[in-house]
């Protein structure tokens, strides 16, 4: 029992240390947080502006007909914020390890008695904190502008959905981390993964506009369920029920991606330790 408590305390210390370190680095460059808040607005402005320029006065009516949503600004703000956060989480796991390698501190982690999986996993917490701040700061103004009040259940559902939705991204992040350990410069592959997830998730459009085969592919991507569910709560004011099949699909696919990420990471880390690839870069 005492050993278990000691192990728990040590693991919590690892999480705490990573959290403090990463938040310090985030706050060292606060201008990036400003970019994450303003970028969804610039993207929304771009889509809306171009849409209006090509469609003229009928632009809004066409948008309502195509999406069912009556507020293009909120629709794109929500979509581009979740898109941005997904891209950041996918990139960050690999990027964190790569920057440790470049700073020469990567091997030092392996000399410490900390659980490595927990160590790399802890990175998701500080990034999660920044993500929640960004989402709240981005979406609050249009919601206040519309004088809409979200009930506490909807707010809680949004937080729970975001948390579940981050798990598969974290799983993909672990795969990118494995690629980093294995191939050192995996940005080319990460670029393809990011583009694929972004298109198939339908963050910025209803998935029904995609070709049929791509709609089938998107059913295997957890973030496609996340985007639809978040839109239901925040844009269409619908109540989410526990027996909703899309919620079940989100949970199952999220856990699958997470397990896949852990599996690949452990396998490649083991391989790198055996072959001595860990310190080569």
């Amino acid at each position: 029992m005492r050993n278990m408590l000691k192990a728990l305390r040590n693991n919590l210390l690892v999480i705490y240390a990573v959290y403090i370190k990463e938040m310090k680095i985030w706050l060292r460059y606060p201008s990036w947080i400003f970019v994450f808040i303003t970028l969804p607005y610039t993207l929304t402005g771009l889509f809306y502006g171009v849409g209006y320029a090509i469609a003229g006065n009928r632009a809004f009516d066409n948008f309502v007909k195509n999406t069912g949503a009556r507020n293009p600004v909120l629709y794109y703000l929500l979509g581009s914020t979740v898109l941005l956060l997904s891209v950041i989480i996918i990139e960050d796991m690999g990027a964190s390890i790569r920057s440790e390698q470049l700073r020469g501190t990567f091997e030092l982690h392996y000399l410490s008695p900390a659980n490595k999986l927990l160590l790399w996993s802890s990175y998701v917490l500080p990034h999660g904190t920044v993500s929640f701040i960004v989402i709240a700061a981005t979406l609050a103004p249009p919601l206040i502008w519309e004088t809409r009040t979200l009930d506490i259940v909807s707010v809680l559902w949004t937080i729970v959905l975001l948390f579940i939705g981050m798990l598969p991204l974290y799983g993909i992040g672990l795969i990118t981390a494995s690629l980093t350990i294995r191939f050192k410069e995996p940005w080319a592959i990460i670029n393809i993964i990011k583009a694929f997830i972004s298109v198939c998730s339908g963050f910025l459009y209803p998935l029904t506009v995609l070709p049929h085969w791509l709609q089938l592919v998107s059913k295997t991507i957890p973030t496609s369920y996340l985007a639809v569910l978040l839109r239901d709560i925040l844009i269409f004011d619908r109540k989410l029920l526990l027996e909703d099949i899309r919620l079940t699909a989100l949970v199952i696919t999220s856990l699958l991606y997470l397990a896949l990420g852990f599996g690949i990471y452990l396998r490649w880390e083991n391989y790198a330790r055996k072959t001595g690839d860990l310190s080569k870069y």
């Binding site: 460059y29 201008s31 990036w32 400003f34 970019v35 303003t38 970028l39 610039t42 993207l43 402005g45 771009l46 889509f47 502006g49 171009v50 849409g51 209006y52 320029a53 090509i54 469609a55 009928r58 632009a59 809004f60 066409n62 948008f63 007909k65 195509n66 999406t67 293009p72 794109y76 979509g79 410069e185 940005w187 080319a188 592959i189 670029n191 393809i192 990011k194 583009a195 694929f196 972004s198 298109v199 910025l204 459009y205 506009v209």
Partner: protein
């Protein structure tokens, strides 16, 4: 003057040609060293293209989604999206990359013309943009069944080359800011979308609200895309054609001269204050 050597014009041309050759060679070698990046661009580009085009199409009725002219506008918009990104990320941040690699001080210690800093990136981007133009046209045909046609090939080639020069001049000006401010990633991100929005790369700027049109006319890229669109899809130009050609040509020269002057000024300033190597 003591220590100053007279160099003939031919020697000067030979010297700068050699420097440009070395820079271009460096650029091509670096570009081809990472073939995975080229493959990644080829695979990911159609996906990014979809991600950008579909949200804009949602403002049109579905029966108009097959309109050829709309896709021609999108196509040239995507090409200029690439050119504007090049200006900020490739030319502007060339200095930042040299800083991070620890080679900036060596370059500034050499007597090479500062333009070589950008010539390396220019060669790489010329290769990459040419590839994008061909590849995006093929994608438009495969994905949307739209054939990209060009009304005046010579004018198009001329406008694209001039646009790349304008982008390099703008990049040099921005590069001077990078040399001074060091960490400009956030600024580049915001500036990129502002330039794309106000320069009317996806639509003619006369469809913008009047207040924004003032900003649009101040952006050098407005005239570049306007000229390229006229050459490609025969749209009317903002100014009479010959005046617009002359304006883009002047912009290409003036912006590069201004960029080099700004770079020279900031370099001297940071050398005096000892901040060249601080980042």
């Amino acid at each position: 003057m003591l220590g100053k050597q007279e160099i003939s014009l031919s020697t000067r041309i030979e010297k700068i040609s050699l420097e440009l050759y070395a820079a271009a060679y460096n650029g091509v070698k670096t570009y081809l060293r990472y073939p995975m990046w080229i493959i990644s661009d080829l695979v990911a580009s159609p996906l990014w293209l979809l991600l950008f085009i579909i949200p804009m199409l949602l403002f049109l009725p579905p029966e108009k989604w097959g309109n050829t002219t709309t896709y021609q506008y999108f196509y040239w918009g995507m090409v200029f999206f690439d050119i504007i990104s090049t200006s900020l990320w490739s030319f502007g941040n060339a200095i930042r990359r040299e800083q991070e690699m620890g080679t900036l001080e060596y370059l500034f210690l050499s007597n090479a013309n500062r333009i070589v800093l950008f010539a390396t990136r220019f060669t790489t981007r010329l290769l990459s943009t040419s590839l994008s133009i061909v590849y995006l046209a093929a994608l438009m045909w495969i994905m949307f069944g739209v054939q990209i046609t060009v009304h005046d090939q010579l004018l198009l080639l001329f406008s694209l080359i001039l646009s790349l020069f304008v982008a390099s001049g703008f990049g040099a000006l921005y590069g001077a800011a990078v040399l001074k401010l060091k960490q400009t990633g956030p600024l580049s991100n915001i500036l990129q979308f502002v330039l794309i929005g106000v320069s009317g790369i996806f639509f003619p700027v006369n469809r913008l609200p009047p207040q924004l049109q003032i900003l649009a006319y101040a952006s050098p890229f407005t005239y570049c895309i306007d000229l390229a669109r006229c050459a490609a899809i025969n749209t009317p130009t903002l100014l009479p054609l010959w005046q617009e050609v002359l304006l883009v040509l002047s912009l290409a020269i003036i912006m590069n001269l201004l960029g080099l002057k700004a770079l020279d000024f900031i370099e001297n300033n940071t050398k005096k204050t000892g901040k060249l190597g601080a980042y």
